[in-house]
């Protein structure tokens, strides 16, 4: 059993080496870094699905929150924005939070009936309008500060690695709120609710320019590793590259990617270690007992919903951490890149293919499916070139077929998901 798993991983690394040799090493390293991040996201989803049988379709939103954390933690603050609108904005947000908390408290404390509904609705509506009164002008001021390059509040200016933790916290918070509402209902409802919250999070990121510049994107997010240009100008580095016989530019690029890789491996290793610990702990066994027979567990007095909430929050937090890592790697926050197909659904394919319920399976799935996702395009293009070589250049059909190689990725992924779901539902590395 162990041997077969090692073989799977070995095959994957062999394919990676293949890409390095026949395409380029930079590509291979890039793919591997994203494989690592994908593996972490798959782990997060697997925690929700494998431990508790929760079907969440909101991964994209939690990953996006991680990206927001990266900006909000590590970008330098925009002083002028803070002085003009910052205080008022914060007041508005605190006020909004207070309104919600008061409404919830009123709902819980007051006796059931028409009056309670009326009072709570009134609180919310009045609170909403006061919030807008505070909020709108503050936003206008902030966004008018140097809109070309800034137009937002900026961040706390801390080291980027802190943002990875903050990303987890943001995601955990959002997950807690949505979990409170949607857990304890039928599984499809959780799916729909998480889809909704994910779309809302992304809409907020796209539209609230004061937070992360919206669709204008945030560039120049600080890095945890060296910059290529700096390396190329460091004498020691240049000498080492010469000694190895590698071109300096290529060497700097590889070195940077390699550094990221090490960092990501550490995080992945940590998360796997913690996941395996928890899986085999009494808590983990209880979780799986609940998953396998919810009614019996509830009859034995286990608070099923509370356990589900714990798992949901933890899994989402892991996705948030991965999201922050991803944004650190990219160095920029691009809200438009957060598409459900690219994240949520792709990660589900990873979990199903790799083996749901098994952490190593999720990691393997993350590696393999990301690899395929990237490599299917050049492969498809190559096939299309071959297929269309008989057609004359410049013909509509030929252009169309070649452009469409990207879309075939979606079809391929869908087909893989369906095939695995049907013929190998336990995945490559099944649950023990």
């Amino acid at each position: 059993m162990m041997n077969r798993n090692i073989v799977y991983f070995a095959v994957f690394f062999a394919m990676l080496v293949f890409v390095g040799m026949f395409q380029s090493w930079t590509v291979a390293f890039s793919i591997f870094n994203l494989c690592l991040i994908s593996a972490i996201m798959a782990l997060g989803v697997n925690i929700q699905w494998g431990y508790a049988g929760l079907f969440s379709v909101g991964t994209t939103g939690f990953v996006a929150l991680g990206g927001v954390a990266a900006v909000v933690t590590s970008m330098p603050p925009v002083q002028e924005a803070w002085t003009t609108g910052g205080a008022r904005l914060l007041t508005a947000l605190v006020f909004a939070g207070a309104t919600i908390v008061i409404s919830v408290l009123l709902w819980k404390r007051m006796t059931k009936g028409r009056i309670r509904g009326f009072v709570v609705a009134a609180t919310l509506i009045i609170g909403f309008f006061i919030f807008r009164y505070l909020f709108d002008p503050a936003v206008a001021e902030i966004e008018s500060v140097n809109p070309a390059a800034e137009g937002y509040l900026g961040g706390l200016g801390l080291h980027i690695i802190f943002s990875w933790i903050v990303g987890g916290l943001f995601a955990a918070g959002a997950a807690w709120m949505i979990g409170k509402v949607a857990l304890g209902l039928r599984s499809d409802y959780l799916a729909i609710a998480t889809l909704g919250i994910s779309e809302i999070i992304i809409a907020v990121i796209k539209n609230e320019d004061w937070l992360t510049r919206g669709v204008k994107n945030v560039n120049g997010i600080p890095r945890p590793v060296a910059y290529e240009v700096d390396l190329q100008q460091t004498a020691d580095f240049v000498r080492a590259a010469d000694w190895l016989g590698i071109d300096t530019v290529l060497a700097s690029s590889l070195y940077v990617k390699f550094s990221y890789g090490i960092l990501f491996l550490i995080v992945l290793g940590l998360i796997i270690w913690l996941s395996e610990l928890s899986l085999n702990s009494p808590w983990g066994r209880m979780m799986r007992a609940i998953r396998d027979n919810e009614e019996a567990a509830a009859a034995m007095g286990k608070d099923v919903t509370k356990r589900h909430l714990q798992v949901f929050v933890i899994g989402s937090a892991v996705c948030g951490i991965a999201g922050a890592m991803l944004t650190s790697l990219d160095g920029l926050l691009t809200p438009a890149s957060y598409q459900p197909l690219r994240f949520t659904f792709l990660i589900w394919v990873m979990v199903i293919v790799g083996g749901s319920g098994n952490n190593w399976g999720a990691v393997l799935g993350g590696f393999i499916i990301w690899f395929l996702w990237i490599e299917v395009e050049p492969l498809g293009l190559w096939i299309m070139e071959w297929v269309t070589s008989g057609l004359e250049d410049g013909s509509d059909l030929k252009d169309h077929l070649r452009d469409s190689a990207a879309h075939m990725r979606l079809v391929t992924m869908g087909a893989i998901l369906l095939l695995v779901l049907r013929f190998n539902p336990k995945g490559l590395i099944p649950e023990k």
């Binding site: 509402v181 499809d188 909704g196 919250i197 809302i200 539209n207 659904f345 589900w348 879309h407 998901l417």
Partner: protein
């Protein structure tokens, strides 16, 4: 106080778009609720099913247009819809036979069906983009306006114009016809009653001799009709763009859940509730209030409760409220 102009503004920007959008959501929610009630799973592929049916219609319309065939003032697409429906029926039945049927046989849990529907979403999404491309596609022709804003102003002498697009009227009329036909089918025919029985109590239905595979086939036929019509008409009214259909999934599901999953009447009511809520909450009422309040009482700003970017936050909020307070929906669909 200029009540007439105020009403025209409201009609033009809220009521008429609400009716058209509500019709689309109602038809979509009906498809979702039928699948939930009878096949007992949430079909995440429904948005892309509409895109797929719409795609067939767009291609067919282009072909007819290239041959110079037209039924002006009506859009040519209407001629193509029946053929698109037939193609969708074949496609959906193919999906059912190759994918879903196996899981029915082994009595897989509903989540597996949902995951399979995700896989089908991927495939349909990719195929649509592959065949027709991801960009906007125009295929509307025929008269655009039943009444244009200018004609209206000329006729009534009012300041504000009321524009009614032919596509909006078609959407609404189609919705009425289809809903009426569906209800006649479900309530007055033996087959339709047997489908309601199957949805109500599957074991007893089997005991009564109702053929489950026949019920399943009919459901997919109905879904093909609903999805193709709503998908085509939505593309006719706005423009055909594959991405937008996936975005409709959340409001459609919200509509179905609000109305009570599994309850056709609920789906329709839910569709209009969600549509009008979305439009109402994101509409900038400044113009409207301009005709009602005196100049100096008018607040600054465009008087918009939430920006249009957040319009599906509205459906989501309604969904959350329903889940919190009345999960079985307005009309008590199948319980969770």
């Amino acid at each position: 106080m200029d009540l007439l102009n105020a009403l025209v503004v409201l009609a033009n920007f809220v009521i008429i778009p609400g009716i058209a959008y509500g019709s689309t959501l109602a038809l979509g929610a009906l498809g979702i609720t039928l699948i939930y009630g009878i096949l007992r799973f949430s079909n995440f592929a429904h948005g892309d099913t509409m895109a797929f049916g719409g795609m067939f219609a767009v291609l067919g319309t282009w072909w007819l247009q290239s041959k110079g065939i037209s039924i002006a003032p009506l859009p040519t697409a209407l001629l193509v819809i029946p053929f698109a429906i037939v193609l969708m029926i074949l496609f959906l039945l193919f999906c059912d036979r190759t994918i879903y049927r196996y899981y029915r046989k082994v009595k897989a849990s509903p989540i597996i069906f949902v995951m399979a529907s995700l896989g089908i979403t991927f495939i349909m999404n990719g195929l649509v983009r592959f065949i027709i491309g991801p960009g906007e596609r125009r295929f509307a022709d025929g008269t655009r306006f039943l009444i244009s804003a200018r004609d209206f102003k000329a006729m009534t002498g009012l300041n504000e114009g009321l524009a009614i697009r032919l596509s909006q009227v078609i959407t609404f009329v189609a919705a009425i016809i289809i809903v009426a036909a569906l209800f006649w089918f479900l309530n007055k025919t033996r087959t339709g009653k047997s489908m309601r029985a199957f949805s109500d109590n599957e074991d007893l239905a089997l005991l009564s001799g109702i053929n489950p595979e026949k019920v399943v086939t009919i459901v997919w036929v109905l879904v093909a009709i609903l999805a193709t019509v709503s998908g085509t008409l939505y593309g006719l009214d706005k423009t055909y763009k594959p991405f937008t259909y996936f975005m409709l999934l959340l409001p459609m599901f919200a509509a179905a859940i609000v109305g009570g999953l599994g309850n056709p009447v609920g789906a329709i009511a839910g569709g209009f509730v969600i549509a009008f809520s979305e439009i109402f909450v994101t509409y900038a009422f400044k113009k409207f209030f301009g005709y009602i309040l005196p100049e100096d009482m008018l607040p600054s700003g465009i008087i918009q409760i939430i920006s249009t970017d957040y319009k599906f936050a509205v459906s989501f909020t309604i969904l959350v409220l329903v889940l919190l307070f009345r999960p079985t929906g307005i009309f008590k669909g199948q319980s969770i």
